[in-house]
C-alpha cells in the first residue's frame, strides 16, 4: 500500500450464491481525494461500501482502509470512516441535538465535548435554527444536512456518501455538494461519492470510477477518461457523455 493511499482493494469480490455483485475490484483512493463512484443501480457500488466498512463479508480478495482490514478491525475502521447511506433514517421523535448527542455517545465522545461539537456542526450544516425541532418535521434536505453533521461528529478521515443529493431540489443539492467540497478542502477529508448525478460529481471529483455489473470498467481523472474515449480533454465533453460512451461500449 502506497503512503498516500487511504483506500485500497485487491480483487475484492462479493457473491450472493451464483450472482457476483462485485467482481475482482481493484481500487486505490488517495488521501484528500474526492473519488466519484459511478454506475447504474445494482452495479455493486453500495455493496463495495458495505465491504469497505466491514458490514459485509467479502467472498474473496482484500481491502484496506487507512491500513486496516475492515473485516478484522471493523470497529477501528468505523471510527475513521463516516458513512451516510442512501435513504438514511432518523428517530423522528428526537430533535437534531438529541440525535447528534446519541451518535456522539455511540462514538465514545466525552460528555463535556458533545455540546460544543453539536453546536459547531449544526452551524456548519446550517440547521442551528431548527436544532430543537423534531426530526419528523424536517424536510429531506434538512435530514441530509443532519446526516452530514452526524458523520462529521466523529471527525472522520474518510466519508462514504451514497446518493447524497437523491430527491433534493437543485439548489439544495448544490449547497450540499459545495459543503462536501469545502469539507474536503478545509479538513482534508477523503470522500468516496456514489451518485447518479454526474454533473455534481464532475463539479467536485478529482477522479472517478465507473462500475458496471460488479466490475470497474473505467477509472481515472475525468480529463484522462475523456482523452481515452474522445481524444480530447474534459472541457470538450461532460462526464455524462463520457459515462454513456463507456456504458454503450460495454
Amino acid at each position: 500500500m502506497d503512503a498516500d493511499t487511504i483506500i485500497e482493494t485487491v480483487n475484492l469480490t462479493k457473491k450472493y450464491k451464483q450472482y457476483e455483485a462485485v467482481s475482482n475490484l481493484n481500487l486505490k483512493v488517495k488521501e484528500g481525494e474526492i473519488f466519484g463512484f459511478l454506475g447504474p443501480n445494482g452495479a455493486g457500488k453500495s455493496t463495495t461500501l458495505l465491504m469497505l466498512l466491514g458490514l459485509s463479508q467479502p467472498s474473496g480478495g482484500s481491502a484496506k482502509i487507512c491500513g486496516l482490514d475492515p473485516l478484522r478491525k471493523a470497529k477501528e475502521v468505523k471510527r475513521v470512516v463516516g458513512y451516510l447511506p442512501e435513504n438514511v433514517g432518523f428517530y423522528s421523535d428526537l430533535d437534531a441535538v438529541q440525535s447528534l448527542e446519541y451518535v456522539a455517545s455511540l462514538n465514545g465522545i466525552q460528555k463535556n465535548k458533545i455540546a460544543e461539537k453539536t453546536d459547531e456542526l449544526l452551524e456548519l450544516v446550517g440547521i442551528t435554527q431548527d436544532a430543537h425541532k423534531k426530526i419528523g418535521a424536517f424536510s429531506r434536505g434538512m435530514k441530509q444536512r443532519l446526516g452530514i453533521a452526524e458523520v462529521l461528529i466523529k471527525e472522520p478521515s474518510i466519508l462514504f456518501l451514497d446518493e447524497l443529493t437523491l430527491g433534493l431540489d437543485p439548489e439544495g443539492a448544490l449547497r450540499l455538494i459545495d459543503l462536501i467540497h469545502s469539507l474536503n478542502l478545509d479538513r482534508k477529508i477523503t470522500v468516496l461519492l456514489c451518485s447518479h448525478n454526474l454533473h455534481q460529481v464532475q463539479r467536485i471529483s478529482n477522479r472517478v470510477g465507473i462500475m458496471l455489473n460488479g466490475k470497474m470498467i473505467a477509472e481515472g481523472s475525468i480529463d484522462s477518461l475523456a482523452k481515452e474515449k474522445f481524444g480530447v480533454g474534459e472541457t470538450e465533453y461532460s462526464l455524462e457523455e463520457i459515462y454513456m460512451k463507456y456504458f454503450q461500449e460495454v
Partner: protein, 321 residues
C-alpha cells in the same frame, strides 16, 4: 471489553420503552388487573378470617388465591407473555424499516451491542414493571388484610419475581427473534402471537389428545389405575413443552408452601391418605426449590437459548438498510 456502545444502546432503548405510550398503557392495564385481583383476594381472605388464622403463610395468599376469576399468578402466566411480545416484536425490523439500523451498525460499536442493548433494556423494563406491581399489591395487601409478611414469604416473593422475569424474558427473546427474521412489523407481531397462542393454549389440548391416543382412560378403563397413571404422565410430560405450564407449576409451588408436588394427579391408598393428613406441614423454601428446580432451570435455559439464537441470526445477517 468495551461496554460503552452496549450501555448507550441500552440507555436509549430504556428511555424509549418508558416514554412510549405502549408501555404506559401496558403498565396501567397490568396494574389495574393486579389491583383488582388482589383486592378480590383480600376481600375473600377478610371473609374467612378464622381459616386464615390457621394458615401459615396468609400474605402469599394475596398472590395465589383466586379472587373473582383468577389469581395474580394465573394472570401473569396467561397474559405476562404479552408484555414480552409487545416490548420486542418490532425492535429490529422497525429500525430496519426507518433506516436507522444501518446507521447504528456503521458507528464504532460491536454489532452485538445493538441486540444485547435491546434485550437487556427489555428485561430491565419487565423487571421494573413486575417489581412495582408486586410492591403495589404487597402494600395494598398490608393495608387490606393487616398481615405482615415473614422473611420466608419475602424470599418466596423474590424468587417468584425472578422466575416471572425469566418467563416474560423468554417471550421477549421470541419476539426479538421474529423481528430479526421478518422484515414486516405486522408479520413479526402476528408470528409472535400465533406462537404464544399455540404454546399456551393448544399444547394442553394436544397433550390430552396424545395421552388419550396412547393410553385411553375412558370410563370403561377407569378401574385400571396403571392406565390412568400412564395417561396422566403422558399428559403432564407433553404439557411441559409449554413455557406457561413450566412457569405455572414452578410459581404455584414457590408461592404455596403447602404444595408438595408439581403433579396435578396423586393416587393414594387409604393408609397413605391417613398418613399424609397427619403430616400437613408446609415445605421449607429449600424443599420447594428442590421440587421446582427442573422447571426453573428449563425456563432459564429456554430463555437463554432463545436469546442466543436471536444473537447468532442478527450477527450473521447482512444489514443493507
Amino acid at each position: 471489553m468495551n461496554m460503552s456502545g452496549l450501555f448507550v444502546v441500552f440507555k436509549k432503548e430504556l428511555c424509549d420503552h418508558f416514554s412510549s405510550y405502549r408501555f404506559v398503557i401496558l403498565f396501567a392495564l397490568i396494574a389495574m388487573v393486579s389491583f383488582i385481583t388482589s383486592y378480590m383476594a383480600g376481600l375473600h381472605m377478610k371473609g374467612n378470617l378464622e381459616a386464615l388464622a390457621k394458615t401459615r403463610f396468609p400474605f402469599l395468599m394475596l398472590f395465589s388465591s383466586p379472587g373473582a376469576l383468577f389469581s395474580m399468578i394465573q394472570f401473569v402466566a396467561f397474559f405476562g407473555p404479552l408484555i414480552g411480545l409487545i416490548l420486542g416484536f418490532d425492535s429490529i425490523n422497525r429500525e430496519r424499516a426507518q433506516g436507522t439500523l444501518i446507521k447504528l451498525v456503521s458507528q464504532p460499536i460491536y454489532r452485538d451491542a445493538v441486540i444485547n442493548g435491546k434485550f437487556l433494556a427489555g428485561v430491565a423494563t419487565i423487571s421494573v414493571l413486575l417489581v412495582s406491581v408486586v410492591l403495589v399489591i404487597s402494600g395494598f395487601g398490608l393495608a387490606l388484610v393487616g398481615v405482615v409478611p415473614g422473611v420466608e414469604e419475602i424470599w418466596r416473593l423474590l424468587i417468584y419475581v425472578l422466575i416471572s422475569i425469566f418467563y416474560i424474558s423468554f417471550w421477549l427473546g421470541i419476539s426479538i427473534l421474529f423481528s430479526i427474521f421478518f422484515k414486516g412489523i405486522a408479520t413479526s407481531a402476528l408470528a409472535s402471537v400465533a406462537l404464544w397462542i399455540f404454546l399456551s393454549f393448544f399444547v394442553s389440548l394436544g397433550a390430552e389428545v396424545a395421552a388419550n391416543a396412547v393410553a385411553p382412560a375412558d370410563s370403561k378403563n377407569q378401574t385400571k389405575p396403571e392406565l390412568i397413571v400412564k395417561n396422566m404422565r403422558i399428559k403432564e410430560t407433553v404439557s411441559l413443552s409449554s413455557p406457561m405450564v413450566l412457569y405455572s407449576k414452578a410459581t404455584e409451588t414457590i408461592i404455596n408452601p403447602m404444595r408438595k408436588t408439581t403433579g396435578s394427579f396423586i393416587m393414594m391408598g387409604p393408609m397413605e391418605e391417613l398418613l399424609s393428613s397427619r403430616f400437613q406441614n408446609p415445605l421449607t423454601l429449600g424443599q420447594s426449590m428442590i421440587v421446582v428446580f427442573p422447571h426453573i432451570t428449563t425456563l432459564i435455559a429456554i430463555t437463554l437459548i432463545c436469546f442466543a439464537i436471536s444473537y447468532l441470526v442478527f450477527i450473521k445477517q447482512e444489514i443493507r438498510t
